[in-house]
């Protein structure tokens, strides 16, 4: 009997010892901070430096009634949709080609080349577009030399510049997730459809596209969520007038020291993120279990 008890205590101790460190870190870096943020979002002022704060719902009512937040919130959602859609339009064909038409050694090399810049510093990659989106730069001059009278590519500090920078940052996600889904489709399905007289387009529309949907959804979530929270790309490529939900939140913490408002904006954004995750979860689960 005593041996049994000590064995289960030992087991419990082993589990605690192995997982304790990880979850202590996650407790003080994620769980408690999010709880503190929620608490702050209901305060009148930042309760630091001797100021006393009282409870208020004002920040949340402001967010849902003042046009400033509604307009910028809509702009951020729009940016998320546009970037995701362009990534899909560019990335899906690339994934399809990689999965269907490009063979072993080429495929490995090209996939590696696609993910390689992806893990290099995002800030540096955003910065690199400031070298390109100007007419006096290397690309602008080369374009004018090859094609005199070519349209200007001087797009710095404009909305299109933000979109280009974000598509550049997140395109590899879409290619990879779609590739994984497309790769898993059994070739014999297409062959069966073909032998029954289906055209290539029908096969794509009725078999390939629906079966690769989980990959598209996974890519969409992986792109839409961080774009919604982006502030560095709009700041660098969009200049001063680029106000997004992300830059608005950043401002409350770095410039205006209105942490409660920033916290309320952050939690509103988090609610949108959780909503998106909730909607996509059933499809995502399929994607994960299929691979």
């Amino acid at each position: 009997m005593t041996a049994l008890v000590s064995a289960s205590t030992r087991r419990l101790r082993a589990i605690l010892g192995l997982t304790g460190g990880t979850y202590l870190v996650l407790l003080i870096t994620i769980l408690l901070p999010l709880a503190a943020m929620l608490y702050f979002s209901f305060l009148t002022v930042t309760p630091i430096g001797g100021r006393t704060a009282s409870f208020t719902l004002k920040h949340y009512t402001d967010i849902f009634t003042k046009p400033l937040y509604r307009v910028n919130g809509q702009r951020s959602l729009m940016l998320g949709f546009q970037v995701t859609l362009i990534c899909f339009a560019l990335g899906y064909p690339a994934a399809l080609f990689l999965a269907r038409h490009i063979k072993n050694r080429w495929r490995e090399a090209l996939l590696l080349l696609i993910v390689l810049p992806f893990w290099s510093n995002g800030l540096v990659r955003t910065f690199s577009w400031t070298m390109v989106l100007t007419d006096s730069g290397l690309v602008g001059q080369a374009l004018q030399a090859v094609w005199p009278g070519a349209p200007s590519i001087d797009l710095m500090f404009s909305y299109p510049a933000i979109v280009i920078g974000l598509v550049h940052a997140y395109l590899p996600y879409m290619i990879l997730t779609c590739y994984v889904s497309l790769q898993a489709i059994d070739d014999s399905l297409a062959e069966a459809a073909r032998s029954l007289g289906a055209s290539s387009f029908t096969i794509f529309r009725r078999i390939t596209l629906p079966l690769s949907l989980p990959g598209v959804v996974a890519g969409t979530v992986l792109i839409f969520v961080p774009v919604l929270g982006s502030f560095m790309e709009p700041r660098i490529l969009g200049g001063q007038q680029a106000i997004m939900l992300g830059t608005l939140i950043e401002n409350q913490f770095t410039a205006s020291f209105n942490w409660p408002l920033g916290a309320a904006l952050g939690f509103t954004m988090l609610a949108v993120v959780i909503l998106i995750m909730g909607i996509c979860y059933p499809v995502l689960k399929k994607h994960l279990s299929a691979n």
């Binding site: 082993a14 589990i15 010892g17 192995l18 997982t19 460190g21 990880t22 979850y23 870190v25 996650l26 003080i28 870096t29 994620i30 408690l32 901070p33 999010l34 503190a36 943020m37 309760p47 630091i48 080609f97 990689l98 269907r100 038409h101 490009i102 063979k103 080429w106 090209l110 590696l112 993910v115 390689l116 893990w119 290099s120 510093n121 995002g122 800030l123 540096v124 990659r125 910065f127 690199s128 577009w129 400031t130 070298m131 290397l138 690309v139 001059q141 550049h168 395109l171 062959e191 961080p226 929270g229 982006s230 560095m232 992300g246 950043e250 913490f253 952050g266 954004m269 988090l270 995750m277």
Partner: protein, 264 residues
């Protein structure tokens, strides 16, 4: 399918992917090239010069930030890889109450936008007196790296199962012998891949560091960001070139150890 599309289909496909690769690489290559141009205003014609790399050697602010980044990345790699590997072991070996909850708790650090986790940490650390600084940045980086380490090491553990360890135990090996002679060598590639990944995450991380860095303390990305915002010179291109090349070398090493991106 292959018979009808044939060779021309393959060439068109490679051409399309090539255009995508141009889009991904041209800005980076132009940025790197301009680090070697003498003009401080990025003016053409191109005039090869190493002046910006030399200037880098005398820029104490950037060098201090670079040293901070490397130190934090190393500390993060050691801490996150150790804690994450232990957790992956617990998940692989034991079935216990609350395990799936613990696994779900790994999702927030990698799915919630860094802007939100970063500002939440800023609030909490400031409020509780943990404060800002290199220690706070390190804590934040460990939190972001841990889920990836658990996933990478965990998938390695899953791939060979417990059969070999059970065999060792049957043949009379004790717990430590089994761990060091059987488990550890089998886990090693997963641990190395996870460590490389953790280093890269920390070294490239900007958002969390940005909110947790007090005035006068910075990491390389934070320093580069303020330089870009204030007005930059090709010195930023020079340091960025070094960062890009280092990151890509690490990614290639990671691909080797995790067999990522290729065969299935």
């Amino acid at each position: 399918m292959a018979s009808t599309s044939g060779r021309t289909g393959g060439i068109f496909a490679i051409g399309y992917v090539g255009v995508i690769l141009l889009f991904l690489y041209v800005p980076i290559l132009v940025m790197m090239l301009m680090a070697f141009n003498a003009s401080p205003l990025y003016q053409l014609p191109f005039d090869f010069d190493l002046v910006w790399f030399k200037a880098l050697a005398g820029n104490d602010q950037l060098l201090t930030a670079a040293r901070n980044s490397v130190l934090i990345a190393i500390a993060n790699t050691v801490i996150a890889t150790t804690l994450g590997t232990l957790t992956a072991l617990a998940f692989a070996r034991y079935h216990f109450f609350g395990k799936s909850l613990l696994q779900i708790l790994l999702i927030p650090p990698i799915t919630i936008p860094w802007l939100i986790t970063g500002t939440a940490m800023l609030i909490f650390f400031f409020w509780t007196g943990i404060g800002r600084g290199l220690h706070a940045i390190l804590l934040g980086h460990v939190a972001l790296s841990l889920p990836y380490v658990v996933i990478i090491v965990g998938s390695r553990l899953k791939s060979y199962g417990v059969a070999l360890e059970e065999a060792a135990a049957t043949l009379g090996a004790n717990g430590w012998q089994t761990f060091w002679r059987v488990s550890a060598p089998l886990m090693a590639p997963g641990i190395v891949a996870a460590a490389l990944f953790a280093f890269a995450i920390s070294f490239d991380q900007f958002v969390i560091s940005y909110f947790l860095a007090p005035v006068g303390v910075s990491t390389l990305p934070v320093e580069i960001y303020s330089a870009i915002r204030k007005g930059f010179t090709p010195e930023i291109n020079a340091i960025s070139t070094i960062i890009i090349l280092a990151s890509m070398a690490m990614m290639l090493a990671f691909a080797r150890f995790s067999k990522f991106g290729g065969e299935r």
